[in-house]
């Protein structure tokens, strides 16, 4: 009965039937998802919907990276975790939710966080990378590792009521993060959700769109957001897509003679380059309201 050589079993056909009957998607695209793998860096506000929708869609192997534990103040936006998971490692909690949604896929947890020491080796194991991190040094690190190993990168970010989405390191001319921002912003210019706040549903929108882009990249269906930046203003209800530069031949990461390679990346000093350590949303100061 597998005359189309898609390699899906009967349970998979039943489970994904609503995507398979879709003419513009179909069984071959679903089979690519089921054979594909995605690394999600960060199991927070962006990673929550990204991981859930990729698990539900049937991506064969998901890797989830984090290093923090769930806190109550995360849950207003990090819907992959439940109250009962407070104190549990985020990657473990997220993996558990993905498996409960879809036991037929493989979910791998990486609890040590994403570091210069493990970045290249982690990225190498997956087809597509989702940047669901929350700080500038990690964003440069993820982009560099994707350049070094040659993986497309779905990048999302959110703060306040603003969100941004793009795909880096894709195709012949897609830029990387450093092509756009060769010089890191000063540490004082980098607002974090823990300080500036974020409306919970904003990373929800962006993270879900990150899952969409990963599905498009894996399945080969649709036009990925390469060389385009989607900018959303959730308060105004404005969605705006702008055209980005091509990759730069002189980029230290993805140019014709890159200084940052798989070999040199582990010794690159991201804290010095960005002037800040990889931060996280853990251990907030208690909020004082008079």
């Amino acid at each position: 009965w597998d005359g189309l050589q898609h390699g899906l079993n009967k349970e998979q056909i039943a489970r994904y039937s609503r995507q398979i009957v879709l003419h513009s998607f179909g069984v071959q695209a679903q089979a690519k998802l089921c054979r594909g793998s995605v690394l999600i860096v960060g199991a927070g506000g962006l990673g929550s919907p990204a991981a859930l929708y990729l698990a539900a869609a049937g991506v064969g192997r998901l890797g989830i990276v984090d290093k923090d534990s769930v806190e109550l103040s995360n849950i207003h936006r990090q819907i992959i975790h439940r109250e009962a998971d407070v104190g549990v490692h985020k990657a473990v909690s997220a993996a558990q939710s993905c498996r409960a949604l879809n036991s037929s896929i493989q979910v791998e947890v990486h609890c040590e966080g994403f570091t210069p020491a493990n970045a290249v080796q982690l990225v190498r194991q997956y087809d597509v990378v989702v940047d669901a991190s929350d700080n500038a040094p990690t964003r440069y690190l993820i982009s560099d590792a994707c350049c070094a190993v040659g993986r497309p990168l779905v990048s999302g970010a959110a703060i306040g009521t603003d969100g941004q989405l793009t795909v880096y390191c894709h195709g012949a001319d897609g830029p990387c993060y450093r092509c756009l921002f060769p010089e890191a912003p000063a540490a004082g210019n980098c607002a974090r959700c823990v300080d500036a706040g974020v409306l919970g549903v904003v990373p929800g929108v962006i993270g879900t769109l990150q899952a969409l882009e990963a599905v498009k990249l894996l399945s080969g269906i649709g036009e990925p957001m390469s060389r385009r930046l989607l900018v959303i203003d959730c308060a105004a209800g404005r969605f705006h897509s702008v055209k980005l530069r091509a990759k730069s031949a002189s980029c230290v990461s993805c140019g014709t003679s890159p200084a940052i390679t798989a070999a040199s990346l582990p010794s690159y000093d991201y804290a010095a380059f960005t002037g800040q350590a990889a931060a996280n949303d853990a251990a907030p100061k208690p909020l004082q309201l008079i």
Binding site: G42, S133, D134, G156, D162, Q164, P185, A191, R192, V231
Partner: protein
């Protein structure tokens, strides 16, 4: 005078009195077309309400800010020297890191 729409996104609106867009009439030197560099300096001198170092560094934009001319990355239009005409939109977007 050149009529330009200046847009601020990704938190830069906070530096411009919480305005996300300003319809500006920017004076130009006679015989010269307005450049993005001049529009940016005009915005800094006339609209900025707070901490100029969060908007510019030297005579260009600070690291981490993307500049667009009519929704296109300024790198594709000539960066600081790109010409700005009546009705054009110049957008400044701060890259976000949160999640």
């Amino acid at each position: 005078m050149v009529k330009v729409r200046l847009e601020f996104s990704g938190g830069l609106d906070l530096l411009f009195g919480n305005q996300k867009a300003v319809e500006a009439d920017i004076p130009q030197q006679s015989g010269h077309q307005l450049t993005v560099a001049e529009a940016m300096a005009w915005a800094r001198d006339n609209l900025l309400t707070d901490r100029p170092e969060l908007f510019m560094k030297g005579s260009s934009v600070r690291p981490g800010v993307l500049v667009l001319l009519n929704d296109t990355d300024w790198e594709l239009c000539g960066e600081l020297d790109a010409l700005v005409a009546d009705g054009d939109r110049v957008t400044f977007i701060s890259t976000l890191h949160g999640g």
